[in-house]
């Protein structure tokens, strides 16, 4: 097996007294689609910028493609495609002009870029918008263009910082479809997100981050197996009665979480648990049995929700 594309050991970034990334360890292998899942402020973007060789680490080791970003920034950046959290397209230029100038920053020939643009427009579903000024595009289109731009140099690693944050559900689904295609094609993806459904769909393996630290690591299925049960029963008794009922139902299941608006009861067999609870005389206003998700893993690990 070839050596990992990214290796981080005790990677740390501090801003004055504040530690944004706190001694984290992880590897990313070629062809992997690796995720950083965590709430706002977890240190995801800071980690991405250090890997992207645009932010100096405070301590620890970091190698990308076997190189140290502190010493060989341009040589590393030559092989990364970067999709930052905030789009930084050139609003005054058109869609194709944006792809063109970005390709030039990688020293690519005009002829190569010209052919590549056609492929990227098709990928980003922006053929009709090729000569439109970027300022006039919708948020979802801009995001797709930023991703296409990141692919112009056929990078070894495509880095996506919160690719779908701020998009409406439809735009998100189009984007997921595009990213899923990249994943299938074998592009090495490194992405951050605070959406557990996004992490589940796109990441083969991920680390769960909170307050600069890694809370857990594994594939979505592994994490769920390790930190949660197969299913969860969601019950609402009304905000006054939730606490009291949580107390009462405590012994019926593996684990219980009480949120402001509902209580979550974890069990490998949700339906049986629910019918036992009902026959025990409880009368929830609503009840729902669902498969557990990374959201539940995060809740278990930190006692908080991913999206506040």
């Amino acid at each position: 097996m070839s050596s990992p594309l990214i290796v981080a050991r005790q990677l740390t970034k501090t801003y004055g007294e504040f530690t944004a990334v706190d001694h984290i360890d992880f590897d990313v292998a070629k062809g992997e689609s690796f995720g950083l899942l965590g709430p706002n402020g977890a240190g995801k973007s800071t980690t991405m910028r250090m890997i992207g060789a645009t932010l100096q680490r405070t301590s620890g080791e970091l190698t990308i493609l076997g190189k140290d970003p502190e010493k060989l920034g341009p040589q590393i950046r030559a092989h990364l495609g970067v999709v930052p959290q905030q789009d930084n397209l050139d609003g005054e230029l058109t869609v194709t002009e944006n792809l063109y100038i970005y390709g030039r920053y990688f020293g690519l020939s005009k002829k190569f870029i010209k052919n590549k643009i056609e492929e990227l427009l098709e990928f980003a579903q922006l053929e009709e918008k090729r000569n439109v000024k970027v300022d006039a595009l919708s948020g979802g289109m801009k995001r797709r263009l930023t991703i296409a731009r990141g692919l112009v140099s056929e990078p070894e690693i495509l880095m996506l910082d919160e690719p779908t944050t701020g998009l409406d559900p439809q735009a998100r689904h189009i984007l997921w479809d595009r990213l899923f295609r990249l994943k299938e094609l074998g592009v090495t993806l490194l992405l951050t997100t605070h959406f557990m459904d996004e992490a589940e769909q796109l990441c083969g393996r991920l680390i769960v981050m909170d307050k600069g630290k890694i809370m857990a690591e594994g594939s979505p299925a592994e994490l769920i197996r390790k930190y949660s049960t197969k299913e969860v029963v969601e019950l609402r008794f009304g905000s006054e009665k939730n606490a009291e009922m949580a107390e009462k139902l405590h012994d019926t299941c593996d684990h219980i979480e009480q949120l402001p608006d509902r209580i979550l009861l974890y069990s490998d067999d949700g339906e049986t648990l629910l019918s036992n609870i009902m026959s025990g005389g409880a009368h929830p206003i609503t009840s729902l049995v669902r498969r557990t998700s990374l959201e539940d893993v995060f809740l278990k690990l930190t006692g908080r929700s991913l999206v506040e």
């Binding site: 062809g31 992207g52 645009t54 920034g73 341009p74 040589q75 950046r77 030559a78 092989h79 990364l80 970067v82 930052p84 905030q86 930084n88 397209l89 050139d90 609003g91 005054e92 230029l93 002009e97 063109y100 100038i101 970005y102 030039r104 920053y105 990688f106 020293g107 690519l108 190569f112 140099s153 056929e154 990078p155 070894e156 990249l182 299938e184 094609l185 074998g186 592009v187």
Partner: protein
Amino acid sequence: MSIYERTRKGSLTLVDTKRIHRFGALFVSESRFKHMAKWLNGIITQAIANPLLYLLSVGVGIGSLVDANQGSRGVDGVPYLTFLGPALLASTAIQGAIDEVVMPTLQGFKWNKNFFAMNATPLTGKQIANGVYIAALVRVAFTVAIYWILLFFFGALKAGTAWLAIAVAMFAGAAFGAMMLAIAGKVVKEDFFFSILGRFIIMPLFLFSGTFYPTLNNADIPSTNWMDLTALACH
């Protein structure tokens, strides 16, 4: 091996870091030219109309008054228009260089965050700055050349060495451009700095540095500034 792996060459073969190391700044300039091309008509109109209006109103208008009162060798031994021309040339170069350096820098750091996009590529910060600078100087060279041609047609250029004024004006633009690029990079968070700069430094420099009247006439303090140097080449 996936389809992607078979059809693509990959950045490891595609991207030539030596080429980027050598030509990176020019790729940045190229993107600046794409921007300039968006308002090429405006650039050309400005390059012609600006000197034309100045030369007509101040040069010919005020000049005829000056020359009527002081004779046709009225200022520094040359007609007023000949005196004024080179100074306008230099100040145009300076103003142009500043505009073409400050605007993209503000834009790059603040408005559309272009520089952050460039910074994520193999380009270095130095190449980005150089690229913006080179493009600014090309724009200035164009503006100065048109100015010079107009001066020529107005009969403001008397001496055989008058073409040197272009070089001197370019030096002036280059010097101010470089200085402003350095400042702009540092104070990019303070937009207001540039309005202050425009109003209290550039404008007074333009008005009181011998553009419209000879500095050596007014004070016995020896003054060497770009305007005088440019004038030297023309007289």
